[in-house]
């Protein structure tokens, strides 16, 4: 019934202030108003990037944003923390534990030294094998992309199209980290970070926060005439190290989470009006389309190059710019996807409104597919 969002980018604010902004925004968005004192439980998605406050971080960081006294829990599944926090919040509401639940996500990433940042960008990958071979996530996704492009050579153009499209979408999102168009040619010409991934195949390192307010479905209309419903949840996991998976070009965790979410929601893929998928690297958006069942293996190339996933296409993907352009403050990203769903399904997305959006899917991945959460929403 409520959702808030800060700007994403290299920001002055620290994590407390970011959360304050997002949570204040969520409370302010409740059409008929709600008392903060009604809050009964809070889930905070954060990795604790930089390491300055890892233990007890949910209680500390929410002191001003949510008030002192409510039970708080930090939810951590790397980049999928937000999706899992939503899941925890929904389950708390379903169990009847709490009538009003806050789900928030935050990450502050730009205030640490370069060396420390690169350290923290790798802490969610496999440290015992991949890290010792000299890989961070860019490197792991570079391996994945090399295998994908070996099988589907036109995938390079599709990856460039993902970057170009998501940057185009980002220009219509005032909260996005990047507000700048880039062409496919620029993507293909950019310096290589982890071949075949170039600089513009990678999402930025961003600060930001997002927040959601959940209530039982049968109470939602007490607070707003345009609630958004969580119809289905799915989650799954896989082996962390990609060397232990039989196929690099599919995320079993996404497949499991997606199948579960569709089953839970009782809808077909044809009903989905737009997608928010986890595009930390351009290749990840192609994998997501295939693993969620919107394309056959390799079919995401044609789907993407056909323009279908553009804002004007038949299946818009990441209308808010995605992680690629909007930014990827780790703990906030999965919550931010749901913020976008909330706006779109209420018809409040402004310049980037997907026409007549009724059903949407959000897909959040931890690292290179060790964890995934998928959720399906509809408007009231």
């Amino acid at each position: 019934m409520g959702a808030g969002h800060t700007r994403f980018g290299a920001l002055e604010d620290g994590p407390r202030a970011l959360l304050r902004g997002a949570v204040d925004g969520a409370f302010a968005s409740v059409d008929k108003g709600v008392e903060r004192g009604a809050l009964r439980e809070a889930f905070l998605a954060t990795l604790g990037f930089g390491g300055w406050q890892i233990g007890n971080s949910s209680a500390v960081l929410l002191e001003e944003a949510a008030g002192v006294g409510v039970p708080t829990t930090r939810v951590e599944n790397a980049c999928a923390s937000g999706g899992y926090a939503l899941r925890a919040g929904v389950r708390a509401v379903e169990r009847g534990d709490a009538e009003l639940v806050l789900v928030a996500g935050v990450e502050k990433m730009t205030d640490v030294t370069n060396a420390r940042r690169r350290y923290w960008l790798g802490v969610s990958g496999d440290t015992e094998w991949e890290r010792l071979a000299g890989l961070t996530f860019a490197g792991v996704y570079g391996l994945i992309a090399s295998d994908y492009l070996h099988r589907h050579p036109r995938g390079a153009d599709a990856m460039a199209e993902v970057a170009s499209k998501n940057h185009e979408n980002g220009t219509r999102n005032p909260n996005a980290h990047f507000q700048k168009r880039i062409s496919r040619e620029e993507v293909l010409r950019a310096p290589r970070v982890a071949d075949p991934l170039g600089l513009y195949d990678c999402c930025p390192v961003s600060d930001g926060a997002a927040a959601l307010l959940l209530v039982p479905a049968d109470r939602a209309r007490q607070y707003t005439d345009t609630p958004v419903y969580v119809d289905g949840l799915g989650a799954g996991s896989d082996r962390l190290a990609v060397q232990e998976r039989p196929d690099l070009t599919t995320f079993e965790a996404t497949r499991r989470a997606g199948a579960q979410a569709f089953h839970d929601a009782g809808v077909d893929r044809e009903r989905i009006d737009f997608l928010e998928v986890h595009d930390c690297f351009t290749i990840a958006e192609l994998l997501a389309l295939e693993d969620l069942g919107f394309a056959e293996p390799g079919g995401a190339v044609d789907l993407t190059l056909s323009g279908a996933t553009r804002a004007s296409g038949r299946l818009p993907v990441n209308p808010d710019g995605g992680l690629k352009s909007k930014g990827h403050p780790i703990g906030a990203s999965g919550v931010s996807q749901v913020y976008e769903v909330f706006l779109q399904l209420r018809g409040a997305a402004g310049a980037r409104q997907v026409p007549a959006a009724e059903v949407a899917l959000a897909h959040n991945v931890g690292g290179a597919g060790a964890t995934a959460a998928v959720s399906i929403f509809s408007r009231g």
Binding site: R118, W129, A133, G134, G142, Q243
Partner: protein, 328 residues
């Protein structure tokens, strides 16, 4: 005096400049000695030596690494000097007496991080089965001389016996910059505690995998449990082939894309390749590529693996296997 040995092998660098062998920047006395040791190609069930004789300028601070690679207890003896250290080591072996398995590892020349290494294995049955080596005390050029003699005997594995001809793909002056990084450097790397790194050592250094007697499938790295049968599996160790993996994915990490602990390497040597190599269906390993220009190893290529320096942490070099290109 003469003693017989069971087998011997030579390990040489792949590269040379102006006729002189050039060790790779990620080699040191330990890794070249292991190179010769592995070139012996001992069967997995071969009895473990109980005496290690290290000849040449091998720092005693590396003893732990030799013992860890051996995977069991042994007496470690150092033989140093500028000419007769190998002869001394062999004399010491013959003085050890019958019924003992000994391994002599000699590295030379001194002060280069090791370029040529020789491994000689002496077993209880050496006298009957082996060519004989007659040491000539005081003669010059320990390991290189023995290497030449071993080739003459025809007693060595083929690996590394040819003189290196390829030019190194890295700038020489910069290689020195990396090979002399003090191990105390690097404060902000990914912290893999020494105990975690050593826990996986049989798989990390020797490519030990588990084959399950129930389903017949291989689990690698070893996890104490069959990946397919779970607790019901019946595991026995086996060693993956060191020269038989196929590249199934390949990337090149550009400057800035590396984890912090690889900064000294990237500063000195630039980009590096990383591949996912497949030993058998479902048996894969992520490996940094060495002894090759970045991008020189591609999907479908065959690679071997060698033990090399990874990066310094907690005051010492950490070691692991890396991929090297091998001829098809």
């Amino acid at each position: 005096m003469s003693v017989g040995f069971e087998c011997g092998a030579v390990y040489r660098p792949r590269f040379a400049m102006a006729g002189r062998p050039v060790p790779s920047p990620d080699e040191d006395e330990f890794t070249v000695a292991v190179g010769a040791w592995e070139a012996l190609a001992l069967p997995p069930g071969a009895p473990r030596p109980t005496h290690l004789h290290l000849a040449g300028e091998i720092p005693p601070s590396l003893d732990w690494a030799f013992l860890a690679y051996l995977g069991g207890p042994a007496d470690v003896h150092h033989h140093r000097g500028d000419s007769a250290e190998l002869d001394e080591a062999i004399a010491a072996v013959s003085a050890t007496g019958e019924g003992v398995t000994s391994l002599v590892l000699a590295v030379e020349p001194a002060g280069t991080g090791g370029a040529v290494a020789v491994a000689l294995r002496f077993g209880p049955n050496s006298e009957r089965r082996s060519p004989r080596w007659t040491p000539r005390p005081g003669s010059v050029g320990g390991a290189e001389r023995v290497a030449a003699a071993l080739v003459e005997f025809g007693a060595v594995a083929a690996t590394g016996t040819a003189a290196p001809r390829e030019e190194p793909p890295w700038p020489l002056e910069r290689a020195h910059q990396f090979s002399t990084v003090p191990p105390s450097q690097v404060a902000e790397g990914a912290y893999v505690p020494r105990a975690r790194y050593l826990e996986n050592l049989p798989s990390r250094w020797r490519l030990e995998a588990d084959r399950c007697g129930r389903c017949g499938r291989v689990t690698f790295p070893r996890r104490g449990r069959c990946r397919y049968c779970g607790p019901a599996g019946q595991l026995s160790p086996e060693i993956l082939p060191r020269d038989g993996a196929i590249v199934v994915a390949a990337t090149v990490i550009g400057k800035g894309g590396q984890p912090t602990e690889f900064d000294p390497q990237v500063d000195a040597l630039g980009s590096y390749g990383v591949v996912l190599a497949e030993f058998a269906p479902g048996v894969r390993l992520t490996l940094q590529v060495t002894d090759s220009a970045p991008g020189g190893v591609r999907i479908g290529d065959r690679v071997g693996t060698r033990l090399r320096r990874l990066y310094p942490m907690e005051g010492e070099w950490r070691y692991g296997r890396k991929a090297v290109p091998i001829s098809p």
